[in-house]
């Protein structure tokens, strides 16, 4: 379905994840982050977001454990940056699909 995020009309799935990775930009990331209660994306947030997008582009199935061993943040920091479900929230902000590692 179509949704307007940061003045851009983009296609999202029923859970609000961008279906087309090419639609993503930093303004969209900021607005999705706000919807998730993260009002300010710090440098650390952006580093994780960028890393997730790179990993995703390389075809990796992402997991929390992988983020923890990325060298960017440990798992505790990851939770602090993206409270609740860090991987699913960070993935949504990064404009990639919800991780498949779940089942």
């Amino acid at each position: 379905m179509l949704k307007t995020i940061a003045n851009k009309e983009v296609d999202v799935n029923e859970e609000g994840y961008l279906t087309n990775k090419g639609d993503w930009n930093e303004d969209i990331a900021k607005e999705i982050a706000k919807e998730l209660g993260i009002n300010d994306l710090t440098e650390k947030h952006w580093a994780v977001i960028k890393w997730l997008r790179d990993q995703d582009a390389g075809g990796t199935h992402l997991s929390i454990r992988q983020v923890g061993s990325s060298g960017l943040v440990d798992i505790k920091e990851f939770y602090a940056l993206f409270p609740g479900g860090p991987l699913k929230n960070a993935s949504k902000i990064a404009g990639i699909m919800k991780p498949m590692s779940c089942l």
Binding site: H61, S63, I64, R65, Q66, S69, I75, K76, F78, Y79, A80, P83, G84, G85, K88, M100, S101, C102, L103
Partner: protein
Amino acid sequence: MEQISSRKKILILGAGTAGTMIANKLANHRTKYGLDITLVDQASEHYYQPGFLFIPFGVYGREDVVKRRSDFIPRGVTYIQNSIEKIDTTKKEIVLHIGEVLPYDILIIATGAQVAPEQIPNLIGDRWRKNMHEFYTFEGANALYNTLKDWPGGKLVIHISEMPIKCPVAPLEFSFLADDFFKKKNMRDKVEITYVTPLSGAFTKPEASRVLGGMLSERNIKLVPDFSISEVDAKENIIRSYDEKTVPFDLLVTIPPNMGDALIARSGLGDELNFIPTDKNTLQATGHENIFVIGDATNIPASKAGSVAHFEAEILEENILSFLEGKPLSAKFDGHANCYVESGDGKALLVDFGYDIEPVEGTFPLPFIGPFSLLKPTVINHLGKLAFRYIYWNVLMRGLSIPFVGPGVPLAGKKIKK
């Protein structure tokens, strides 16, 4: 087709569910394709892992779930019982613990997944297998049986550490069976059951999550979602999450992280959980055209379950033959999983799904026996689950197919939403 002149060495690592099935299937093609098939495994016993779920409640005992691995090795396949030191993909050989080297033309890795309780801080200590348990090993399931037998009641916490896990429905089944077990002992009022999961609901797939979540609340089982464990506090009897949530327990039944075999890490072939990057359709190992992976050892986004290994075996058999003939790998696995979910009270549900097909309500077409009801607890589904143990030992482990059940997800009978 014409005979392939030089003999090909096929080496299969792991004689569990997946390895035994593919060995039996390939054994049928030995003569036609000139195959020398060798199967290597370190253990002498073959466990019927779906049976572990029933051991804590005293339903199954040793004789139901343990047989000798060598009983299922087909004629003409060489069986070596030894542990493996390393896979050397450059030299195309494996090194056994005793130092012997086995070369291969085609390698099939079926080394499975194991629980890794040591990954959770403070889980293994004085209280391990006393009031902190797992039921994914034969030893663990038996220890839990001994604890449950005369447990006076209190807070029972059923907990999943992280995904993926083998048989992702097993912890739910354990919860339903525990509810039933305590009801039958007339002590359900003395037990508070909590289900703690890193997922956002009872299950990942939305439709099944809704149904199974409803079944938890019907049984007065509390659901704690989005809980990612950082440690156990064995003194205070609590589990703690990374974001400082806590859940107290008197009896903890945890599903520790599941990891691929340490051999995979030693050989530099796995991801951070020792699972092998594998093409989710062809089952070929990423970057190695003569290596294939089957069963729990892969990193594909399908359930780690015996039914998946069974459907994969049919695809892999076809692709190995294509590979031997120098043809493209045309058989594609669609992620098909088919799981009975015990719901207690002599009933079970059936879920049937794949990469792109969600578990939904409807019926599963199985002529003569079925249809089984999908996503709905019925007695016939429970009987199907119990009958499956017979099918496992006598049909699947012999490399035979279940009549009328092909490897792909059947769409007939499913109520699929557009």
